[in-house]
């Protein structure tokens, strides 16, 4: 390739990381798919990395509170792309009726972090591909491409390892621990949308404006708010993001309920 574009470079770096993770963890590797734009782009990258048929389990952590459009998207594309999908839930917490009506920190921890920890024990995953990006949150900006979690899924964020030149990853694991692998860490929100546009990827319709409102970040229905926007196509979203000053996750309530919420959630194993 003569002059690779930024997207070409980002794509090939991400594919390299996904393949590196597979080489290291083989069948112990799973990919977290929330059906959001970032993890859907990551599913696409994994498909590209393995000629359309990634030997990687795809996991949806289902809280039961997602938008109906998200479930429909999951079912449609899991089938269309022939994904090896596992849906994991914290059944115990769900039957106790845990919800964000009470305390959002406990709700996210029970329905996402603990649900994932239970699934890691059940399926013996050694590593998870997670589509977080540095530019979406200042706590996520502190991450490494390969980041280890202890046996309780905790993130020892004050003692992160050396990761040099994006080539020498720490992939060795102690028994009972697992790794979080972040292939999209260096992508910007704008890069993801430009990639969605270039690769003609499907996205959940909630991202596209209806009546001058759209979601910039999606998850559980109770914890997402819309932003004012007239962007009703992916091309218009790309245009909008070139000028906006509003933070991507400004509509996400769980980040802001109390101070250092994201740090506290993530130190326990939240994505």
């Amino acid at each position: 390739m003569n002059n690779p574009s930024r997207l070409d470079i980002l794509e090939s770096q991400s594919i390299y990381i996904i393949r590196e993770a597979y080489w290291r963890y083989k069948g112990g590797l799973a990919l977290l798919w929330s059906m959001g734009k970032d993890s859907t782009a990551m599913v696409h990258l994994a498909r590209k990395a393995f000629l359309g048929d990634p030997p990687i389990s795809v996991v949806h952590i289902d809280t039961g509170y997602k938008f109906k459009e998200i479930y429909a998207f999951r079912d449609r594309y899991a089938k269309e792309w022939n994904l090896n999908l596992s849906v994991v839930k914290n059944q115990d917490a769900m039957s106790r009726g845990v919800s964000c009506e009470g305390d959002r920190f406990s709700c996210c921890t029970a329905l996402k972090t603990e649900a994932l920890a239970q699934a890691i024990n059940l399926y013996h995953w050694q590593a998870l591909l997670v589509a977080i990006r540095r530019d979406e949150h200042t706590i996520r900006a502190k991450e490494r491409y390969f980041s280890s979690r202890d046996k309780d899924s905790r993130w020892d964020y004050q003692h992160q390892g050396v990761e040099l030149w994006g080539e020498y990853f720490r992939t060795q694991l102690q028994p009972g621990t697992h790794a979080r692998v972040h292939p999209l860490l260096g992508w910007r929100e704008l890069d993801v949308w430009e990639y969605v546009l270039r690769e003609k990827l499907p996205v959940v319709s909630l991202y596209l404006a209806k009546h001058k409102q759209r979601y910039r970040s999606i998850g559980c229905e109770c914890c997402c708010q819309t932003v004012s926007s007239a962007a009703d196509t992916v091309a218009k979203i790309v245009k909008e993001l070139r000028v906006t000053r509003l933070a991507e996750r400004s509509g996400r309530v769980q980040d802001k309920e109390r101070e250092y919420m994201m740090q506290k959630l993530r130190s326990l194993g939240y994505m």
């Binding site: 574009s5 930024r6 470079i9 980002l10 770096q13 540095r134 530019d135 200042t138 706590i139 900006a141 502190k142 490494r144 964020y157 004050q158 992160q160 390892g161 050396v162 990761e163 040099l164 030149w165 994006g166 080539e167 260096g186 910007r188 890069d191 070139r242 000053r245 509003l246 933070a247 991507e248 996750r249 400004s250 802001k256 101070e259 250092y260 740090q263």
Partner: protein, 159 residues
């Protein structure tokens, strides 16, 4: 591994030279700080009973804010004219966290070495310069910071 077409600049130097503050100030001057994040930093400063701290845009961990020093490396995007951008890599200055400095610096293709005008050039500053060379960064720009604290005296700059 480069970061796409954008150039990335690591800001190195001894602890308390003002590395994180300098980056955040540059982010503000270029309109790169998003509205929601500015609000959360303002709130964090109020809760700690401190004046507005630019460094908190990069020092996002509670421990970093309490001890007023960067513990781990981070990166921030700086908007430039015509839709271009560059990436600033913030690294800790403290010698205890040199592994995080190495990790961050290895993603950069140029460097700013920040020096406090009111201090002599420290061993840690020289060490950072040496590490930048080891990492493979060919270009280092020296930045003399905190000149306001010595009344912008030419003598302090030349020292």
């Amino acid at each position: 591994m480069s970061l796409g077409q954008a150039s990335s600049i690591v800001v190195a130097g001894d602890v308390d030279a003002g590395k994180s503050t300098l980056i955040a100030r540059l982010l503000q001057e270029t309109g790169s700080l998003s509205v929601g994040v500015s609000e959360s930093v303002r709130k964090a400063c109020d809760n700690l009973g401190r004046g507005f701290e630019y460094a908190y845009f990069l020092d996002s961990f509670e421990e970093e804010r309490l001890t007023e020093r960067t513990i781990d490396t981070t990166q921030a995007i700086c908007r430039l004219p015509r839709g271009n951008f560059c990436v600033f890599v913030d690294v800790p200055g403290h010698q205890e966290f040199v592994q995080a400095m190495l990790s961050g610096a290895s993603y950069a293709d140029s460097a700013l070495l920040v020096i406090d005008a009111n201090q002599p050039i420290t061993q840690q500053t020289k060490r950072h310069a040496l590490l930048l060379e080891f990492i493979g960064i060919p270009q280092i720009i020296v930045c003399i910071n905190k000149l306001d604290l010595c009344g912008f005296k030419q003598a302090a700059f030349e020292r």
